[in-house]
Symmetry: C2
Subunit: 311 residues, 2 copies
């Protein structure tokens, strides 16, 4: 069964890892948000892409949800001594990824080519694609003005009140080579439990599943299922619930299903939200969506794949 998974950071990476535990390399393509990419200290940093790669490679830090396991912090602590900004916690091993990526980009290699090489070096067998080789920059409009995504997310710890989002460069951002082909040959697209506003929407727009305006979904004939990142009105990690609330929408699995309205063939929500199931217009699967361990990830993936098979 060929599957395309769309993923942002931690939550998306976990389900992608679950799918990778079950599907063969040729059966799974993971398309990752790059709207949160940014330049810092002259390095080109791709937080979501790195989280997905590190997670699939078994290199991810299980405690933080970002960065590398067994990490050291000698560079950032010396940057701090020099009075430099340390709000984005750069580990020494993680910096290698950013530096080598930056070097290759400056040499003219594409982000997708670099990602492929890195995945090979890290022993990742499944295909991980950045959504685009062109830069897309997520801008968060807040009550304190517009903020670049990492500025909002990491530096300001999602404190400013969200008013909206903009994805600079998205109009001209083509999907990477292989993304369209993977989608065309896939039986289903799995929207992983990532932030709908800032992780999934940019991917959907780039791969033209949500053209602007949103009225012409092009997923016809393709099963598209989403796993809710919101459980009992809250997120395991990240600001999705806070964003819904600040945008005047009650944060819930229902709101997420509504977010993807017109696009879905199926929707997966947590046991805690079972009571919402009847209000969702598409077919639903109610299950435990919490992924604390590798086997939780595999279990959810297996259940999701079974759900797809049943649609």
């Amino acid at each position: 069964m060929k599957i395309v998974a769309l993923a942002g950071g931690v939550g998306g990476a976990k389900l992608a890892h679950g799918l990778a535990q079950i599907l063969a390399p040729e059966e799974l393509t993971i398309i990752v948000n790059t709207g949160d990419d940014f330049e810092h200290f002259g390095m080109y940093i791709c937080p979501d892409l790195d989280t997905v790669c590190y997670t699939l490679a078994g290199l991810a830090n299980p405690e933080t949800g970002w960065g590398r396991v067994n990490e050291s912090w000698n560079t950032i602590s010396n940057i701090e001594k020099l009075g430099g900004p340390a709000w984005f916690r750069l580990g020494d091993q993680d910096i290698a990824t950013h530096l080598e990526r930056t070097r290759r980009l400056k040499e003219g290699q594409s982000l997708s080519q670099i990602t492929r090489d890195f995945c090979n070096a890290w022993g990742i067998k499944h295909t991980i694609l950045p959504m685009s080789d062109s830069p897309v920059q997520t801008i968060v409009d807040t009550d304190e003005g517009e903020l670049a995504f990492q500025e909002y997310f990491v530096h300001r710890r999602c404190e400013p009140r969200v008013k909206g989002f903009r994805f600079d460069g998205i109009q001209v951002a083509e999907p990477v080579i292989g993304a369209r082909e993977a989608i065309e040959s896939a039986e289903a697209i799995v929207i992983c439990p990532s932030n709908p506003w800032v992780s999934v929407d940019p991917i959907l727009r780039v791969i033209a599943l949500i053209p602007v305006p949103r009225s012409v979904p092009r997923g016809e004939g393709k099963k598209i299922i989403a796993v809710s990142p919101i459980i009992a009105g809250k997120t395991v990690k990240g600001p999705a619930a806070k964003m819904y609330a600040e945008l005047g929408i009650e944060p819930s699995a229902l709101a997420v299903a509504e977010h993807y309205r017109g696009l879905l063939s199926g929707f997966v929500l947590d046991d805690l939200d079972a009571h919402l199931s009847d209000n969702i217009e598409t077919k639903t699967l109610v299950t435990n969506t919490i992924m604390n361990s590798n086997s939780d990830r595999a279990r959810l993936a297996r259940v999701v794949l079974h759900f797809i098979g049943s649609l």
Copy 2:
């Protein structure tokens, strides 16, 4: 006694450190070569400047002659795993210097301003100035074509045969603010035992002590003394002797004195070269110029200052 020291990498840094052990902060300004600066992984790296700063701060690695003491190598070893170039050995602490410098340069700060801030952070009391805030790039012309300096020096380990040197950007490179003033108010300029071709010449040109053509030295009235980096036909470290030989000049303290012809009020050569003293047209001091320990550095500095006083 106000002194300006001109320094390149290791040898120059050692004597500069010796002078700093004896002279008060307001008595010593060290002007450092930046012709070997280069961009690597998108970082702006200043090897000579960092060696001088690390040496004066007590942060230098005494074994390698470059980089930081008690260094860790987690970034570069991960860059290697990704197939990236590891010929320039970047330590984790050292990378902090390059990243924060790059960040500030991109913000519009000048290299001299950044160097001042870093010196403050590292507890360096004496003034260290990069020769210029404008980029100057030393190009080594070799039998294998032109090579950027670090490519020749580190990557190719000085193996290609040298035919000449070019300093791109030097025509428009102004000395940094404070350099001219320091020279004007100094009693003497000490040319540290650094490579005459690629460490000292660029500084001399930028501060207009050797205008091109070399015929009009502007050091009149100023004592200028040089310490030979060549001892018994060899260098303690670095390719100066090899360069002289490849350019058809027998490498010796005599060749160094000849290199600075017309500029010097005094020349310091090693005990091993005492026999060359009579052939040198300027006043000479013969002493032990090997600096193995901090006290060696201070001893040589003291002898050099005494020599200046006697001129």
